[in-house]
């Protein structure tokens, strides 16, 4: 189990009065404090780490969030923000002495401006909910994490989430225009707005991907884009991971940027096919999903050039989707991939490193070797075009030694990513999962500079204090 900061004992001792104070701020159903009802909040999408919080609050307005923050900060109570609880890095893992601020009741779309191509939504709107709200007018919100059905935009901002189509459209940071945040002491601040680039320092850039360390995001202004004329996906099947990896490098280095370029290896192909029935090639060791967009002529041209590149890598088969339904099934399998691995293994750790695409073949080979030496199976599913790896390490949580091996294996993969010139996280965030590996990426001086930045926003380290930074002596002792 991951090390937690020492709980603030005076806060634990004041539990009842703190809960009573929270109840004064919210309707009855908005405060959860009974031990049995707190239990389901003890974890998120990374269920290997668990800690029951002191209380959970479910505000419905920014003003309620502000009141909660003002109260918690005056009482010296730690706070853990939470969206849909789909984090794969334990971004919403509670602390024993913390109040979890769950934003899922803030699920309203406040404004859609087609003329200026933006939408203002509350933090608890799901990622796909934005696209669904504008799709009738042929618009969409571009970043599409695989959990887009469930994950919420507030969490996307805090993790700077990516997704399959970010190869073309950029990650969350490239699709944001403004934020409404609540500071640790309960002030409401607006940043940016319905226009390109915010005035002054790049606060928007600073807050995006800040993992709940600096403030609580309650509203988001996102850019919406006109839907492309059309899109088509193709499947390319290969004889080994390295060959598929080399093919990815050939496509990218040829100058073609498909809208999506996704990789799956044999275990992933089989698990996802069982869920999505998409016609994945079950005889392949590795498969690429390649999607292009535009008019039919553009699609034909790009698919022709990509097929020619694939043909140079001794493919087993190349198959272009023949209908919108086939494309949808291909993506259903890919988007449900992590969950689908639940069909072949009771538990998994999902890694999230990025590497330069030229390193793909070598890194995939090393991961294969590590898998053999740790004796744990890996399913590789990832955004190949971005070099954003998601090796899923399969283990059995009912066997503690298997979990410890998986943790060590994961750490080795991430160290390898840094070693070849990449970084620890592409889109899932550091959370608690990669917290203790930050020293691999950064020197102590670099970490201290980042800690000072956090202190400027959150002097008492009340916001999400168990994440991102390796625990300091002060947090260990509290």
């Amino acid at each position: 189990m991951i090390e937690q900061p020492e709980p603030l004992h005076d806060v634990l001792a004041r539990r009842d009065s703190i809960v009573a104070g929270l109840r004064r701020l919210l309707p009855e159903s908005g405060v959860i404090a009974e031990p049995l009802r707190l239990k389901p909040y003890e974890t998120d999408g990374l269920s290997a780490y668990r800690q029951t919080p002191m209380a959970v609050v479910l505000p419905e307005t920014t003003e309620q969030v502000a009141a909660i923050m003002a109260f918690c900060s005056s009482e010296g109570v730690r706070v853990v923000p939470r969206g849909a609880g789909t984090s794969l890095s334990g971004g919403a893992l509670p602390m024993e002495d913390a109040v979890v601020v769950g934003l899922m009741r803030m699920n309203r779309i406040l404004d859609i401006d087609y003329a200026d191509r933006c939408a203002v939504v509350q933090a608890g709107v799901t990622n796909i909910g934005i696209t669904q709200a504008v799709s009738a007018r042929q618009f969409f919100y571009a970043p599409d994490p695989s959990s887009q059905l469930a994950c919420m935009i507030g969490g996307n901002v805090n993790m700077n989430s990516g997704g399959a189509h970010c190869l073309r459209y950029g990650v969350t940071a490239n699709n944001l225009l403004g934020l409404k945040i609540v500071t640790v002491d309960g002030q409401i601040v607006d940043i940016g707005g319905a226009h390109l680039d915010a005035a002054g320092l790049d606060w928007l850039g600073l807050l995006t991907g800040s993992e709940g360390q600096l403030a609580i995001v309650t509203e988001v202004t996102v850019r919406i884009l006109r839907s492309p004329e059309g899109a088509r996906a193709m499947l390319a099947a290969f004889k080994s991971n390295e060959i598929a990896g080399a093919c990815v490098d050939s496509i990218i280095s040829s100058g073609i940027i498909p809208v999506a370029l996704e990789f799956m290896d044999r275990p992933a192909i089989h698990a996802c096919e069982a869920f999505a029935h998409a016609g994945y090639p079950l005889d392949a060791e590795a498969m690429l999903i390649i999607e292009v967009e535009g008019s039919v002529a553009e699609q034909d041209d790009l698919l022709g050039r990509i097929s020619a590149i694939c043909a140079r890598h001794d493919p087993i088969s190349l198959k272009v989707a023949e209908s919108a339904e086939q494309s949808a099934a291909i993506w259903k399998g890919r988007k449900g991939a992590f969950g689908a691995v639940g069909r072949i293994s009771p538990d998994y750790l999902c890694m999230d490193g990025t590497i330069p695409t030229s390193q793909l073949p070598a890194v995939l080979r090393r991961i294969g070797e590590m898998s053999a030496s740790y004796g744990l199976q890996v399913a590789n599913i990832f955004h190949a075009g971005d070099g954003n790896l998601h090796p899923l390490i399969m283990f059995d949580a009912n066997d503690p030694s298997s979990f410890h091996k998986a943790e060590a294996f994961g750490a080795d993969i991430l160290k390898l990513c840094v070693e070849v010139g990449g970084c620890l996280t592409g889109e899932h965030g550091v959370g608690v999962e990669k917290r203790d590996l930050m020293g691999v990426q950064f020197t102590e001086i670099e970490l201290d500079q980042q800690r000072r930045l956090k202190s400027a926003f959150d002097p008492g380290w009340l916001l999400n204090a168990n994440k991102v930074f390796p625990l300091t002596a002060a947090l260990r002792a509290a």
Partner: protein, 440 residues
């Protein structure tokens, strides 16, 4: 997900099954997004993942069910939308069934809740009692306004009175008999004549029998078969549910071993989901029951599946009507039947449209609209709004529960099979009051 059951606990077949289900869940949270109660209430505890966690904790600890767990499990509609969404293949249905049985066995509900559940479990599966109850309720209906609004007990009474049809159809329950096919016999099926549906809307069975016999299918309403057991099953009442299922299995097995059956036809999809699960329900029973139950479950088909299989064809000119197809949860999530009813309706010449949020429950969910009137009312309003926005002339659905829940508003609602029968030569459904249609 990690679980903590002792070897002793795992010797119980229900616990062993639930352990397997929990081990399949990877806690990804996708299910939250398509859960009706999570959409309305915005609380992990009212999502499938939250309930799975509460149930896991309750079963692992071996504790009696507590009020907190019961509150959130009771709010589950069992619409099974989560099972359609789940990439890992978690069988939430069997898990929540186990939890409900555990709750019924270990939790003492308040007296009024207990009494109401007993009444529902006794009356609804028995057409005679159900009819008497509805006649009595019709007398009470004018006085509904006098009931106080606040407490749950009265909200539930209101919900029951609202469900009472303004005009109770004549007593037209189908007695056990064999309906001979018109022309040469192409097949032979048993029809689950059902319980509450026969009283609320006998036209559905009539249309089914007319259509099938016209297509050359012999239809048997087997002696001894009755309620499928779902009503009791969903309230966690294990023994009455098993007794009802056993009676059906015995009755249909008799027909199967006698003159033979090609299929067992169900035209209320809520019942269909349960009949198709008989194999699992009887897996640990003694003697011939597991085998018999599995055989019956395999033969069970929704009417739309069977019609598609034998080849439906319309004989009347198309009616130029736009039908909003309401996909009952038990069909689309419980039985994964999504296309068959729409295909058939198109073959019958209707234009088909679908509402937004077609995957979200209408709030009927068996007895849910009586037991959880607040949530059911919100879901009903949401569904009716989405259906009205389609601009359709009428609604078609394959489940009596949804039909009752959504009746009485601007759009008439009929069973899919009534429309199919009409276009294949049967009478126009009476519920379509448009004069041009009724004059046939």
């Amino acid at each position: 997900m990690q679980t903590n059951f002792t070897a002793d606990q795992l010797r119980d077949p229900d616990t062993a099954s639930s352990n397997q289900i929990l081990r399949t869940c990877v806690h990804c949270g996708f299910c939250t997004a398509t859960c009706p109660t999570f959409l309305l209430l915005g609380d992990e505890l009212d999502s499938p993942r939250g309930r799975i966690y509460l149930i896991k904790d309750m079963l692992e600890s071996g504790r009696d069910a507590t009020e907190e767990v019961v509150r959130h499990v009771d709010r589950c509609l069992s619409c099974l939308s989560c099972m359609t969404t789940c990439p890992s293949g978690v069988n939430y249905m069997h898990l929540v069934d186990h939890a409900r049985t555990h709750i019924e066995a270990t939790y003492v509900r308040p007296w009024h809740d207990r009494a109401l559940r007993r009444v529902l479990a006794t009356v609804l599966p028995r057409p005679g009692l159900m009819r008497m109850a509805l006649l009595a309720a019709r007398l009470a209906r004018p006085f509904a306004g006098l009931l106080p609004r606040g407490p749950l007990v009265f909200k539930r009474l209101h919900a029951m009175l609202r469900m009472t049809p303004a005009n109770l159809p004549a007593n037209a329950a189908v007695a056990p008999q064999v309906f001979r096919p018109i022309g040469p016999r192409r097949g032979r099926v048993a029809l689950l004549a059902g319980c509450a549906q026969q009283v609320l809307d006998p036209a559905i069975n009539d249309a089914t029998i007319r259509l099938l016999t016209r297509m050359g299918i012999e239809v048997v309403v087997a002696k001894g078969a009755g309620c499928c057991g779902a009503l009791a099953h969903h309230m966690g009442k294990h023994d009455p549910a098993m007794d009802a299922a056993r009676a059906n299995i015995a009755a249909w097995s008799g027909e199967l071993d006698g003159e033979g059956l090609d299929a067992i036809i169900v035209n209320a999809s809520g019942c269909g989901t349960t009949v198709k699960d008989y194999g699992f329900m009887f897996r640990a029973e003694r003697g011939v029951w597991p085998k018999q139950a599995a055989r019956i479950a395999e033969l069970a088909l929704d009417i739309s599946e069977y019609l598609l299989r034998i080849g439906y064809a319309a004989s009347r000119p198309a009616a130029d009507l736009t039908v909003a197809y309401h996909s009952a949860c038990s069909l689309q999530h419980g039985q994964k039947i999504t296309e068959a009813p729409k295909t058939l309706l198109r073959q019958a010449g209707f234009k088909i449209v679908e509402p937004a949020e077609a995957h979200i429950c209408c709030g009927s969910a068996g007895t849910y609209n009586i037991l959880q009137p607040d949530i059911a009312d919100q879901l009903r309003a949401r569904k009716l709004g989405n259906l009205a926005a389609t601009g359709a002339d009428l609604i078609a659905a394959g489940n009596i529960g949804c039909m009752t829940q959504l009746a009485g508003e601007a759009l008439p609602i009929v069973h899919t099979v009534e429309l199919l029968d009409w276009m294949a030569g049967g009478p126009a459904p009476k519920k379509l009051k448009m004069p041009a249609l009724a004059a046939d």
